[in-house]
Subunit: 334 residues, 2 copies
DNA sequence: TTGAAAGCGCTAACAG
DNA sequence: CTGTTAGCGCTTTCAA
């Protein structure tokens, strides 16, 4: 627990000088530099980041607010963020929220208290409120995957186009009766995927709000969950026996659908085809392997951190947005 | 960015008093308390954790060093840690290491600099070195899942017994020729699982070092990876056509094995049975669903954080160790 | 080129 | 009960 004072004393210099050689700021003679480094080595000195942060106003820590680390697509993004952050000497604080706004808001307060230099919001439940809170607190924020194309600085993938590509592929395979397993209403990127599906199915005039009313449509909310996928598929098939293809709004619900069909002895893709969204790791392991829309999650994480770092070192330039392309990965299920 | 001074001024009291009401320490008249809280509210004051940490020597942050967030069993542990930590007002810093000792060591230095109050090591590559470095730095540490039963404070599961249970089950199913997909040599919990297998197969006298020499044994290193599982299974079956059951040291390699067998048209479990280890989420989704040894990962994470918190509030008592039981989850693959 | 001094925002004695 | 004071360990002027 040596302090800068100890270094100064054993090196026989002032603390200002020690600080100067440590941070390579200002002129220091080669000789003193050596003396200081020797003292640092021999005392195994590591600067106290807290004390440093108090004066520099920089903690070299960034906050990552995400809904759930256990949700398969999240760790990949987190890993991307961490890898890039570390390259810049930053450390990552992780906070789960279970997609609840109150938890999200509390997370910001905690991070503000921990004085992180910036925050990355991964798929927040309420983007506007979260971003404005960060702005109130005066802390740089960047949003990942809210799917929101507003002025807010964000990284996302083209969910709308991804959904359209998925339906296009299904149609190309000869399917005309295509059901959809929707995500939670109000979740931006879930809405975009739904919109893509609707538009591709010629339901351009239908608003998202109307969807839940129109029971005759082959659309069921699976909430992006495995169990939801099972249940939704069952409901869908009962109401719409004509369906030959199910487009799931994400892979988890696709997996649920797959399990239901398998248990019912329905052959995939022969009787019912399935197409997912995300390309989480599991997608390539199930049988039949899942055809899906790949989201470059790791790259998205890296990009988010990259842009934040960039903004931190040059706060004057606005943070650019960035939209990643999605790619169709054709495997066996459709 | 109001400071304690601003609060003191607008509330018309001294900063000491403000600090007292904020921390509920010492006597403050109800009236002043109100005045202070009003000022806090109206200025939207949030205490600066950094300044506080500088004097209290407590950052309310803990470091979690893990090998890879993308490894399926890791996020669950991390989530458990975070949930428990948050209950105590702690925030979690996550550092990946890719299982490389140098990265691990660097992680400690970073965390030391960030002045975390404690560190949780999840399956470190080199437990001794890591723990001793933490001790040198004088920072409380607890180890998760190193499988090491030494004096070091740790949480782990009974890998040895788990492996024995797995083999026992396989035998009960009538299997006598049971192959093993081993993990990396030297990884403690991998070694324990291997030891369990060896002992159950009557190879009690065989040392772990000898295993790699004895090519005639039905043991191949799959390195705990999906691809490793595929390759190892292929090798295993070529060398040992008599095998009717494969015990994979972890689920990822079991999944690899499963895929290989499926592609070869080998029926599971009819021709070859498979039993895994970990019970990662995917295990219950593949076909056939994987019989495996369940590790209570979330609970392990919670326990780790719990013990650390406990130690932080009562540093005098030694940190107890804790070994979780593993349970056999019988599904379809064996 | 370098030492000394002034804080950063807060807690924790210490007098009143 | 409450205001004042002295640091926590570091960076950053400011003289020298």
């Amino acid at each position: 627990m040596a302090t800068i004072k100890d270094i100064a004393r054993t090196a026989g210099v002032g603390i200002g000088t020690v600080s100067r050689v440590l941070n390579e700021t200002g002129y220091v003679s080669e000789e003193t530099r050596q003396k200081v480094w020797n003292a640092v080595k021999s005392l195994q000195y590591v600067p106290n980041g807290i004390a440093r942060a108090l004066v520099t106003k920089r903690t070299m820590a960034l906050g990552v607010v995400l809904h759930d680390l256990m949700n398969p697509y999240v760790p990949t993004i987190a890993r991307g963020i961490e890898d890039e952050a570390r390259r810049h000497g930053y450390t990552m604080m992780v906070l789960d929220t279970d997609w609840q706004l109150e938890h999200e808001l509390r997370a910001i307060t905690i991070l503000r208290q921990q004085a992180v230099d910036g925050i990355i919001l991964v798929s927040p439940a309420n983007t506007e409120e979260m971003v404005s809170k960060c702005q109130d607190e005066n802390i740089p924020v960047i949003v990942v995957d809210s799917g929101d194309a507003s002025a807010i600085s964000h990284i996302t993938a083209d969910h709308y186009k991804g959904a359209r590509d998925a339906v296009a592929w299904a149609k190309k395979q000869g399917h005309t009766h295509i059901g959809f397993l929707a995500g939670p209403a109000g979740l931006r990127f879930a809405d975009l995927r739904l919109r893509g599906y609707l538009d591709s199915m010629g339901l351009t005039d239908l608003s998202l709000e109307e969807v839940d009313q129109r029971k005759e449509l082959p659309i069921v909310r699976a909430e992006f969950l495995f169990e939801g996928g099972r249940a939704a598929t069952e409901a869908l098939l009962h109401a719409h026996p004509e369906i030959t293809c199910i487009f799931a709004g994400n892979d988890m619900s696709a997996l649920g659908a797959l399990q239901y069909l398998e248990q019912q002895g329905i052959a995939v893709p022969e009787q019912i085809a399935i197409i997912g969204f995300d390309d989480i790791f599991i997608a390539s392991l199930v049988h039949p392997r899942l055809t899906t829309i790949r989201q470059p999650m790791y790259e998205i994480g890296v990009a988010a951190a990259e842009l934040l770092m960039q903004h931190l070192s040059a706060p004057e330039c606005p943070i650019p947005q960035r939209v990643f392309d999605l790619t169709l990965v054709v495997r066996e299920s459709c």
